[in-house]
Amino acid sequence: MKELHLYKFLLFVFFISFTTIIGQDRITNLFSQENILKFADHLYSEKDYLRAIMEYRRYLSLNQDDNLSLRIAEGYLRMNKFDESGSEFMKLFNSSVREEAILGYARSQFLSGNFKPFSESGELSGSESWQVLKLKYLTYLYTGRSLPAKEEMLEYFPETSRSSIERFYERKRNPERKSELKAAILSAIIPGTGKIYSGNYGDGITAFIVTSLLGYITYDNFNAGNTTKGWIFAGLSSIFYAGNIYGSAAAVQIHNRGVELRYVQDLDYFLQKNNYFLGGD
């Protein structure tokens, strides 16, 4: 009986040793350069960009491959790590993948909202790439720079989207902004009209009724010889009158801010929907 146990034990030890040796062999193969690259590609296709980048770096520590360096930069971009992505793309400006690196850099800067490289003195000003120029023209829709000619801009975009781009162009050129001064003056002449001008009709009518009512009570009290009450209501009317002028200017400012934020929101949505006109996923 004891011998049977011993045999079982020896068989177990043999089995463990065998599997360990096989496994060890496989582990050694796993860290070959070819397998590191395969593993990195697998991670990248699984969208595990962070670990894919680590594996690509491991591979690149022994080899030189501009396409893999480009993949690292692209991986950072896909993780929305724009600073890292930008600097990785910049490193490749003098490599065999220069054109792709410039476009990648342009994409990273555009998506991060840094439009400086697209300006006259920026790093991308000299690029003649169709895609980079397309992004450059789109930056005009975001920044306060003077817009280029409409036709010149539209020719970079597909015909199906030109009407939408044109609408954004017009919204940028002629935003539905209103004048704060005009609102204040209107409310100073007729209380509440500044609010109506800003689009807040209910507030405007209420302001007109309140100020008129207070004015009438003031007049009525003075007329009736109640000077103390008259002065109290005169003070109140003046405060509400001035408050309405201030409020009208503030309402227009809120309206203008709304126009700006709504424009950016719509433009962001439109460009995201069309993948910034860069094609691919």
């Binding site: 209910g202 408050g243 409020g247 719509d266």
Partner: protein
């Protein structure tokens, strides 16, 4: 059976110690220092004349209006709180103008969701920052095109 239990225990500890998938794994560096908090007892000592006037006016407003009207202000912050906050952020003259404007808007029976954002309590979000006449401080406005 024992082996199965050990394996199960090991896998559980792996799950418990799992780290985030979107950044490099590293040892965390917890901070044990306690954040200094403002002591409300000392807050009043540094109150300026504007704050005192605003607090006084708020008390008067509460006595004559809020206490009688109840918790019915449709706005957030409430009108009295709006006044105190505006006095703190601007000066007494500007805060009075801001308050009278708010009070007038409060009297408007046709206030709508299109004009203000709604808080989780269903009140109209109308922060002081929107009325400071500082363009960059305006953030809380409804953006949906109607």
């Amino acid at each position: 059976m024992l082996l199965l239990r050990v394996l199960l225990l090991c896998s559980m500890s792996i799950v418990i110690n799992a780290q985030t998938d979107w950044e490099y794994w590293s040892a965390s560096k917890p901070s044990y220092t306690q954040q200094a908090t403002e002591n409300p007892a000392h807050e009043n000592e540094s109150e300026g004349i504007t704050d005192r006037l605003a607090s006084g006016a708020k008390s008067v407003y509460s006595f004559f209006i809020s206490d009688l009207d109840g918790d019915n202000c449709p706005f957030h912050p409430t009108c009295s709180e709006f006044f105190v906050q505006s006095a703190r952020q601007t000066n007494i003259l500007k805060s009075v103008l801001m308050f009278t404007d708010r009070f007038t808007r409060d009297m408007n029976l046709g206030k709508s969701k299109g004009q203000y954002l709604l808080t989780t309590e269903g009140r109209f979000l109308d922060p002081v920052e929107n009325y400071l006449m500082d363009y960059s401080s305006i953030h809380h406005i409804p953006l949906q095109n109607e």
